[in-house]
Symmetry: C2
Subunit: 122 residues, 2 copies
Amino acid sequence: MQERISDAELAVMEVLWEEAPLAAKQIAGKLSDSRGWTLTTVKTLLSRLAAKAAVSHAQDGRQFLYTPAVEREDYVTGESRRLVDRLFGGKFMPLVAHLAEKEKLSDNEIAEIERLLEEMKS
Amino acid sequence: MQERISDAELAVMEVLWEEAPLAAKQIAGKLSDSRGWTLTTVKTLLSRLAAKAAVSHAQDGRQFLYTPAVEREDYVTGESRRLVDRLFGGKFMPLVAHLAEKEKLSDNEIAEIERLLEEMKS
DNA sequence: TCATAGCGATTACGGGTGTAGTCAAGCAGG
DNA sequence: CCTGCTTGACTACACCCGTAATCGCTATGA
């Protein structure tokens, strides 16, 4: 089982999932806007992500180029599983039911989801 | 926004959601089996939960009786929202799509969800 | 009345997280 | 060749978390 990615680290991953490989400076460039982080902060997060084997880095002259080592897809699946296990006894139905109820979906949205599910049927 | 409840604290909350009010000792009784926690550990968690205002406690002679101060329903909703916001851009649809695909919902389950959604239509 | 058992409160401590400063090394420019 | 900028590595530090021992108070039984 792969180590967990913290909230702050996730922000870094999101940047990399959108575009990779990138150098620390470029990542920091994007995150200093949205998050107000300094370059060193981003570098720390990158080291931790590397330690967790969530990103891989390849030397490129003086600097490193970072690339995600986990797919966003897989991460999302894992986190969803975790929530479902923690709160819904491992069953997906209740999650969907719960959200559907709480989020007051419009008839249109419901129809859309139904269409999607229909396609999904094998 | 209410403070977050940690994993260990959640175990305590689950006990209280099932039955309340309870004294620390009774809660510890249930959790020492399932989790192997000592009484003091449970007391620490209860203090932290009280500090976070997630439980309320009323004096009962020498001891406290603890009661949840947040509904499980609300907690579950909050955590689900959090997941959806963090990973699915706040949209419900992609979550369902993701789950349906990744978790290989059976046709039966899909049908069940559809039934549920159908009921939901106003 | 006095010891004691039983409570919550306080303290502990190693590991993770958020956020960042400082250090050491190497490459570039004078 | 030396100096300084750039870059990753190391260090820092406060706070949260998991897990627990110990302290201090008080009611109760002898």
